[in-house]
């Protein structure tokens, strides 16, 4: 069965995120002053052929560990979207 999985990859909370900072500056220029912080990450979707939801989750976790996220600077969250 094909399982659709989404992986959210975000810069570690303690790290400066210059992209988020630039976007925040843009929002301020638009007059949206109530926005206090912006952080920009990646949203990756995978279609995984697996025997069970658990297997699919395990494979997704593997992709994140081995390639999609770098633990030195990022953390990730996995969610099933079937």
């Amino acid at each position: 069965m094909i399982y659709n999985v989404q992986i959210k990859v975000m810069p570690l909370k303690d790290l400066l995120d210059p992209q988020g900072k630039a976007v925040l500056g843009g929002l301020k220029n638009l007059g949206m002053n109530s926005v206090e912080d912006v952080r920009v990450g990646k949203h990756i979707t995978l279609a995984i052929d697996a025997a069970s939801e658990n297997d699919a989750k395990q494979i997704a976790d593997d992709t994140a560990k081995k390639l999609l996220a770098n633990p030195v600077m990022e953390f990730y969250e996995i969610e099933m979207i079937n």
């Binding site: 790290l15 400066l16 995120d17 210059p18 900072k21 990646k42 390639l67 770098n70 030195v72 600077m73």
Partner: protein, 219 residues
């Protein structure tokens, strides 16, 4: 010492590196295509260089996809056997992604791509003028790793001012502890953001890059 220069799709400093090594350092250079694997022509006394550029379009993260290219598997084996490896700019990013060097290179703190001459030094040198050209050059590692790097003398270059003073005003990209380049514990893998190959010719009015190769004993 013979040199290999790896060419990834998106490398753009590979020919500069070849020219500097061949014509300014007088070395034999073999260009290595990323899809090939064969590096039997090299012994561990030789040096493989990962040049600057934007390998695989910098997709996902700088250097993340280059790490899995066939040639990199051979380079990782070569490094683990004690062969010398130098990564410049994108090459440094690839070495970090490959876990041959600790830490990571993050987007510059000032949100800009920076292309200019800066000064760097190591413990024994005076300030050397070397160009940088990167958007993601802010070296980062956790405190434990940084303390280890310092304790083992693994920081090969700090950003400094013209007089050799190391402080935040001389730090172009926000790198932790002004780190411009590091080596591994064993001392055979080197990574640095500045481009020594762009400063090896009198025609360019700057030969400080030659001193970088000398300091790393890669000349």
């Amino acid at each position: 010492m013979k040199y290999g220069v790896v060419v990834f799709p998106g490398s753009n400093c590979d020919r500069d590196m070849q020219d500097a090594l061949q014509n300014d350092l007088g070395k034999e250079v073999v260009m290595l295509w990323h899809k090939d694997k064969d590096i039997r022509m090299f012994t561990t006394n030789d040096c493989i260089v990962l040049p600057g550029g934007f390998s695989y379009g910098d997709y996902l993260r700088c250097g993340a996809i280059a790490r899995f290219s066939p040639m990199m598997q051979s380079v990782i084996d070569f490094a683990n056997k004690g062969g010398k490896v130098l990564g410049v700019c994108n090459g440094f990013q690839i070495l970090c992604e490959s876990h041959l060097l600790p830490g990571a290179l993050l987007q510059n703190a000032n949100q800009q791509f920076i292309c200019k001459n800066v000064f760097i030094k190591n413990d024994t040198s005076t300030a050397l003028k070397i160009p940088i050209a990167h958007g993601e050059g802010r070296y980062y590692a956790d405190e434990v790793t940084l303390n280890d790097l310092e304790k083992n003398n693994q920081i090969i270059f700090h950003y400094c001012d013209e007089t050799g003073k190391i402080d935040m005003t001389a730090n172009p990209n926000g790198a932790v502890r002004n780190i411009a380049g590091i080596r591994n514990k064993e001392g055979n893998v080197f990574g640095m953001m500045p481009h020594p190959e762009r400063a090896t010719s009198k025609a360019l009015n700057n030969i400080d890059g030659l001193k970088v190769f000398q300091l790393l004993e890669l000349n």
